[in-house]
């Protein structure tokens, strides 16, 4: 499959008061993919997004949207983008529909049919004529998405789209996002500091730390990468002996002991041999389990490792 690049960041740098907030970001985002910006608070996710939508100027580098530079051809570039930056802020004293109408007026070719279509898509038909100040956060978020979809953009940018939503709301947003990417071929960029959330909706995740892009990984690959950790519970008194047996017999396994448990990293294929070996030595095995590393731990692993470098 040939992937069409819709957003291209080239050496994007932002310097504020002599400090590099964003440092030479270079990456591409393709059609039909959900790209996640992951990073701790203050890593520069929102700043990067603000530069993508032209709210902030770039200090160096350039961003191209469908081949148009956000700096020199702002109007052409931005018309392919729909976005919510931070909270979905609307005119509270207007109804949801009037808000949409206001934003529809600001770009060409949005019919009232399209508006109804978008309202239906986000499931706001019943409340769309109520004032926005009566909306719940979830409804505002949905209205925000409606607003960003009005002009059928090629790129949808959502900054922390699930912030402050309840689990049902989060699930709903996730489904919209997957749908938009898969059915309409839109490129969706989301940002979050929650890895678990990203893992469920993104195809690729870019990890930002201290303004630098330290890793871009496809979600599937990343999750299956590396060896698993196993833990074997043996009898308290025999634990030390078991530790030494394993060290002697399996040179590439480095077990650690905590009370009656031995934990070590190993390939799945090695486990039967280890169990067999230990029982052969007459040791009692109470439990063998796989300790799957949580995504958070992996994420911290990656970020900490890079920090040391």
């Amino acid at each position: 499959m040939i992937m069409t690049t819709v957003i291209q960041l080239e050496n994007v740098t932002k310097t504020i008061k002599g400090r590099k907030i964003i440092d030479s970001l270079t990456f591409n985002i393709h059609e039909g993919e959900v790209f996640g910006f992951l990073g701790p608070n203050g890593a520069g996710k929102t700043t990067t997004i603000r530069m993508m939508v032209g709210l902030m100027k770039l200090s160096e580098g350039d961003i191209f949207i469908s081949g148009h530079s956000i700096q020199s051809e702002f109007e052409k570039a931005i018309q392919h983008i729909g976005a919510i930056v931070e909270n979905p802020e609307m005119y509270k004293f207007l109804s949801g529909y009037d808000n949409l109408k206001q934003f529809a007026r600001m770009q060409k070719g949005i019919s009232s049919n399209r508006m109804d279509e978008v309202v239906k898509l986000v499931g706001l038909e019943e409340r769309i004529h109520d004032k926005v100040k009566t909306y719940s956060l979830g409804m505002r978020q949905r209205l925000g998405i409606a607003q960003s979809l009005l002009h059928r953009p090629k790129v949808l940018i959502l900054d922390e789209p699930t912030n402050g939503l309840d689990p049902a709301g989060i699930k709903e947003i996730r489904q919209y996002i997957r749908n938009l990417a898969e059915k309409e071929g839109m490129a969706v960029i989301v940002s979050s500091h929650l890895l678990s959330e990203m893992e469920m909706m993104c195809d690729r995740i870019g990890i930002l730390q201290k303004g630098k892009l330290i890793d871009v990984q496809s979600v599937r690959g990343w999750m299956n990468e590396g060896m698993d950790t196993y833990s074997i519970e043996v009898d308290d008194v025999e634990a030390e002996a078991a530790l030494n047996y394993i060290k002697a017999a399996f040179s590439d396994i480095k077990p650690a002991r905590t009370a009656s448990c031995l934990t070590f990293e190993a390939e799945k294929e090695d486990i039967p041999a280890i169990i067999h070996f230990l029982t052969g030595k007459g040791l009692a095995i109470y439990e063998v389990k796989k300790v799957s590393k949580s995504l958070e731990e992996r994420f911290l692993d990656i970020t900490e490792k890079r920090e040391v470098i």
Binding site: V53, G54, M56, E75, I78, N87
Partner: protein, 288 residues
Amino acid sequence: MVSAFAAFTKYEENKQSEQPDWKQVVQAENAVYAQQLNDQREMTADQRAHIEGQIEINEYRLTENVPVQTSEYMWSFVENASDFLQVAGLFMIVVAGGIMANEYTWGTIKLLLIRPISRSKILLSKYVAVVLFGLFLVSMLFLFSVIIGAALFGLSGQSAHLAYVNGQVVEQNMLFYLVKLYAMKSVEVLILATMAFMISAVFRSSSLAIGISLFLLFMGPNVTYILSMRYEWAKYLLFANTNLLQYETGTAVVEGMTMSFSLIMLLIYFLVFQLFAFTVFAKRDVAG
């Protein structure tokens, strides 16, 4: 508000006793003027010219038998109601001061700026909205006072305004004169609203914009007046130039100022405000 003012004027009018003969009044006035010209040597050339003009107008009244309008009627009410332009200005400043700053406060500025419209176009349309609102207020005031004036005080009265132009007394159409009066008085409001708009766009604070502009609207002319008594450079201050009527009444703040000088100064202030607003707004990073 205009209605209340009209009712009050009507009430006052009813209390008034019979007016003395207008010819006597005019003659007495001219006598006072003549005396002023003789006694006060410190008078500026502008003031002198103004008083001479008034004398000419009064002479014209006597010779052509054009009576002085003493009772209130439609046009004179419209003329008096022009003081309400200050109130219109207050509303206009409130709107101008809020129109950009509120977008920041509400956070909706982010949604505005990610439309395929350049920032200067957005700012321009906001400014146009402010000007249209001001025009609406002023024309409403004018229309409303015409209607109320006609209803309460009737249409009968002098149909021409006497003016002293280039050494000659001319009769001007009342409507033309009043539109000119309203336009001149609106200039001050417009320039202050522009300033409020600039502050609003640059500093993103509506209270700052409204506060400063209203303070200047009420205090500016007084402060300028005080400064102008001592310093010649006061004529370059904004408020020395906002009152264009000073050239009609011969009371220029600093001697030697002319209408075109004021218009140029106003234009410069206007352009500086706009330039400032546009450059800062177009370059700003929008965060938070």
